[in-house]
Amino acid sequence: MTCLVDLMRPSVGFAAVELLERAGCDVEVPLSQTCCGQPAYNSGDRAHAEAIARQVIEAFAGFDYVVAPSGSCAATIKHHYPQMFADDPDLTAKAEDLAARTFELVSFLTDVCGVTAVSSDYRGSVTYHDSCSGLREMGVQNQPRQLLASLDGVDLVEMEESDVCCGFGGTFCVKYPQISNKMVSEKAKRIESTGAELLLAGDLGCLMNMAGKLKRNGSAVQARHVAEVLANRLDDPAIAQPPSSAGQGEG
């Protein structure tokens, strides 16, 4: 479970559990996990990153698969843990073993579980943002689109430059707020010009950034994690929306 989902939007976690269970998986969430260590790792704080990584490696020992509703957390485990322990053969082996078992949620559903269709009551037009790590490190691109296409009520309208970073970048957005703002402003323009009612993505960090910008702009576009639509978990308000707005995505 990614820390952002844990803290900010548990409903994404339950959506993920539901999707996995529907696909026939036995889901466990070890509570000895907290965070994957990405903030420390990307800030150059190797000592803390490694300490947290050891804890994660321990926490997930013995499971067949480790699935995260986030491309960037999955990528940290899959691609960066093995590099972190390059000097320690024992830990490298453990990290590589974990890496081989680690997947991003939606691509796990399609590529490993063979899910080709889901069902959801959502009706309306959506647009999908390709979060950077999911796209470029985990190869998540067609999988969510394929599952969205299986939903009769969902009309996917592609935005221009859906593969361009939204400007979140973890600590980047607070270290360089002006650049981040410029990037998310461009992104918000692309989102709005699709005319879609709902923005979807696979990473909560990006979604909070984009939803926060859309909100500040007074936009009616709502934002949800793609798992919420795929799992038909639409009762909670969309990101940054008041309770009354739960449901079908009309603002």
Partner: protein, 477 residues
Amino acid sequence: MESTAHAFKDNVTTALHDANLQQALGKVRQGFIVKRREAADRLPEFEALRDQARDIKNHTLAHLDFYLEAYEKKVTEQGGQVHWAATAEEARDKIVDICRAADAKVVTKGKSMIAEEIALNAHLEEAGLDVVETDLGEYIIQLRHEPPSHIIAPAVHVTKKQVEADFRQYHADLPPERHLDEPWELVNEARQVLRQRYFQADVGITGANFLVAETGSSIIVTNEGNGDLTQILPKVHIVITSIEKVVPNLDDAMAILRVLARSATGQEFSTYTTLSTGPKRAEDLDGPEAYHVILLDNGRSGMLGGDFADMLRCIRCGACINHCPVYHAVGGHAYGWVYPGPMGSVLTPNLIGVEEAGHLPNASTFCGRCESVCPMRIPLPKMMRHWREREFERHLSPKAVRWGLSLWAFFARRPRLYGWATGMAMSLMAAVGRKNGFFERLPLAGGWTDHRAFPTPQGRTFRAQWAARQRQGEEPS
């Protein structure tokens, strides 16, 4: 040039408020990216060619001493001279010496990033030489007294209107009523003005995209043909280049050239690829009488074999810059020194120090688009992270960041405490912010809430809810 990389944040503010710049950057965002994609798609072997290009450079760098000596030997055999320069200063001094010995007055120059790196123009001008940049983009920024803002499109930050104003100011002997509204009119005017200069020049200076050990050739790649006129008309041709540019054979150079133009501009091949070997032969009707190569190190030998060795594969195509959303936001000058964008964020701290350029490797979201298009498969985000690690080790990163990370790590390493503390915090935030669904302002989060709303957490954390669900499952009541 004087670095302003330490003032990156101020540079960013300036760039974001520069309307001309923002207008110009809009065009970078579109053209290059689509054209590169199309060129790559037209060549089924493109990805395999990237692998091959990477392997060729890795092989060369692992035996760089051998290939440099082999290259030097060949240049000498064909009547050219190689001058080694450990530092920028040595390189500049040598070039001034050669110009003086040739009794030069006018020096024409093809586009060279190494020349920018060693601030050659200022030095030549101080020595009393009349220096003329001949690449149209370089010519424009020379008139404007600006550094390049892009390694392959140096004047990409300048709008057509601005060029027109510059030409009217500096080409004062041309009729003021002339038309200069259209790009072709500006190009023609530059062509006419520079044509005279090529024929006046005593020395022509070019860079080199590759040096070939097999033959002692230097290779330049241009679209305008200015580099060729620069090197073929004056009596002396000086090549200013750096040690990592060498490749073993002509075949290796061509193999890498297959990915260079496609990655840079999306062209199948640049208009002119020119191999120059030594001075003109005795019976030749044209060509320079003397051929000098300045081989610059300037910190590169130290990068070899270390964390930043991969950067030495860079062929300066600019693809990482063209695809960088941070570059699209702020342009090249904000980076504060010669090399902008992702490649600059890795290279610049190597060349001028991380104390000066520490912001650059931090000003990235690690979106990875640069690495995904790099023809030489240079792991740019990984190397930016290396810089962040060094800054962290040397306590160069901001105190607030270090403090925040330590606090976070303290909780993250204590799952029960983490669960308890975050549970409290989220409940509190949810209680306060639930009505709106978001916060307009949050203490300590100004970087976020200055520009966007902060979503309210849903309330009970996933951990808390999951634990409760497990308990219910275990104790059926």
